[in-house]
Symmetry: C2
Subunit: 183 residues, 2 copies
């Protein structure tokens, strides 16, 4: 696999090695040894899969410490604009947004460390698949409003479909004022 | 999730709980705690993804001990006939074949313990995804010829597309005569 640095500590884009033949293709989406060799040491304990219609935005989500989740994310069909926000106060890139186009034609993936808020916009009907380093813990779920004015994220979709729960998330400033720990 | 026993020790079909809403749907494909609670104790260390055109047969494959792999398999798009053969000499169902239709419309999955040969036929263009309890180990790869006369598997496809490597696999009887350990 090939790793592309992003300038955000611990956040890397990953391109698997793909084997094509007459039957179709094959690749290792995750290999614990190879990830460890690249310094990615998380133990993944949960895999999630979602299907989103074109125009859906899910996010921005995170779980509070000690339930913070690192996430290894990719799409299997379709294409999404993946968006992460560095929520680690001590980080050089604190409060900054990183965008990554995840495309099922490329099979690229993004390794998001703990301490980021995460969301994505489905630019096509898309199956999204991800591994988490911590289990789902409903009481620790939080996030940031997708159309927060401070972050001013360009999701690339008009009239997005957003869950009611996500419309009630705090703004970046409201979240920061709470002084909660996210990694 | 719901578990369906198959009559083969350790081999179970799994149906996740699917949450549907206006955006699409969501489900936990794997949850270590829930699997453990159901007695599935494997540590998964590798995830593979393959795409197969309609009519492809991949298999039957396995790795020899101590590299035997338990596999948690499912399809993400399309539909395959998944086929496993019990290769555990001490098992009540030794040499018997189990068939499981894996359908992306159902999102069902199959937990295959160590000691089984595994393959599938793509009944449609299909993305196949699986977790393995042991890493890929080329030198330990073996298997059984897909059209072995003793097993007489009905794959449900005519003029299958099979890799050259798979056409050279031993028959069931040849494999048994080698006295190799598969779990
Ligand atoms: C995230 C999650 C949800 N659920 C249930 C709760 C709801 O009934 C249903 C849908 O949950 P929602 O939170 O609306 O799904 P969602 O797809 O909006 O949530 C996801 O968004 C991604 C951007 C984040 O990276 C994920 O960590 C997660 O927060 O699924 C679980 O059972 N387990 C889980 O791990
Ligand atoms: C299985 C595997 C293959 N490869 C490489 C080797 C080849 O160059 C290429 C394709 O390998 P093949 O063995 O032809 O892929 P395949 O899709 O025919 O093999 C798979 O078939 C399934 C039915 C089994 O359950 C799997 O365990 C595996 O054996 O990918 C890896 O790098 N890692 C792996 O884990």
């Amino acid at each position: 696999m090939t790793i592309k640095e992003t300038g955000f500590q611990g956040l890397v884009e990953i391109f698997p090695r793909i084997f094509e033949d007459d039957r179709g293709f094959f690749f290792e989406a995750y290999n614990k040894e190879v990830f460890n060799d690249h310094g990615i040491l998380y133990d993944f304990v949960q895999d999630n899969q979602s299907f989103s219609k074109k125009g859906v935005i899910r996010g921005l989500h995170m779980q509070l410490a000690p339930y913070a989740q690192a996430k290894f994310v990719k799409v299997i069909t379709g294409k999404v604009l993946d968006v992460v926000v560095d929520m680690r106060p001590e980080s050089d890139t604190y409060g900054k947004v990183y965008y990554c186009m995840l495309d099922s034609k490329l099979n690229n993936s993004l390794m998001i460390p703990e301490g980021f808020a995460h969301g994505f916009a489905a630019l096509e009907d898309s199956v999204f698949s991800y591994k988490c380093s911590n289990l789902y813990h409903k009481a620790s779920e939080t996030g940031i409003l997708y159309n927060d004015e401070t972050l001013n994220i360009d999701w690339g979709v008009e009239n997005p479909i957003v869950s009611e729960k996500d419309l009630e998330l705090p703004t970046f400033r409201e979240f920061v004022a709470r002084n909660e720990t996210v990694h």
